[in-house]
Symmetry: C2
Subunit: 141 residues, 2 copies
DNA sequence: CTAATCTTGACAAAATTAGTAGGGTATTAT
DNA sequence: ATAATACCCTACTAATTTTGTCAAGATTAG
């Protein structure tokens, strides 16, 4: 499995904020209920996104969360990496000092996979996804 | 992380068998030592690959493991799936009956990623990897 | 025979994921 | 002011998955 619930939940929440971008803050509870995500858990995820600079918050009554940048300036890769760390195909590309980096063949295919994944997530913005969403919902009617 | 050690170890072992294809069985210990994989653990992995029909075994002294098919007829995807189950980007593509399959936007990007991964692993055979290995080792001299 | 090798199944340790819980702090409508 | 609202933070726990370990047995070459 490439992504855990962290990335999935976090991406859904970010997309929700993107959808309401420019329309004021969205509170935690409403996101948590809409997507059936435990409130406290989602809170931790959004907190990470805030620390990474992708989300702003407004405290107090009528407060909530909102994107810190325009949806077109936030990629799926940014969100996923903030929550899950580097998105990698295999541990050996990160940790291992196996000493065979230059001659390991399996490594090559892992690298190919990873490049391909990164290519997708780094070239899809939240805005792209909002547009896709609009399209899907239109077709559903 | 897309792949655990299961897939990585199993793929390395399979590649070793591919490299010695047609030259008799290779015993467990030699693979386990060459790649620093715990013997009993590797045993379980090879056992799965046997059940899946990708490798044969010869018991007794001088016995060992060998590929059940030609390297060109075994893909990386076959090996990885036998060991790790379906290679998937997100749980929600497999289990969830979230009821929103037709309108969920995040799902689309997970599907794109998954297709891209499958495209790579299903179009790379062990033979391809042996060739790459030959090339790498040549260049290293 | 016997030493090398695979077979099988149960068990255990370690790591990661997925939450829970609860008090704390800031803001604002009233 | 103050009460309600909502984010902030840290620690803990439960569940799951990964990564092994172990032991007794079956098979075969020499």
């Amino acid at each position: 499995m490439l992504l855990s619930t962290k990335g999935r939940y976090g991406l859904k929440a970010s997309l929700e904020l993107a959808f309401f971008y420019g329309k004021g803050p969205i509170n935690l509870k409403s996101i948590s209920e809409k997507y059936s995500i435990p409130e406290s858990y989602l809170e931790q995820l959004l907190s990470k996104l805030k620390k990474s600079g992708y989300i702003d918050t407004i405290r107090g009554k009528q407060g909530g969360y909102l994107l810190a940048k325009e949806p077109k300036d936030i990629t799926v890769g940014m969100i996923l990496r903030a929550l899950e760390g580097d998105i990698t195909s295999s541990d050996c590309l990160k940790n291992d000092k196996c000493g065979k980096e230059n001659t390991c063949v399996t490594r090559i295919i892992f690298e190919d996979i990873e490049k391909s994944i990164n290519n997708i997530i780094d070239n899809t913005t939240l805005e792209d996804m909002v547009h896709k969403r609009d399209k899907i919902h239109k077709e559903a009617h």
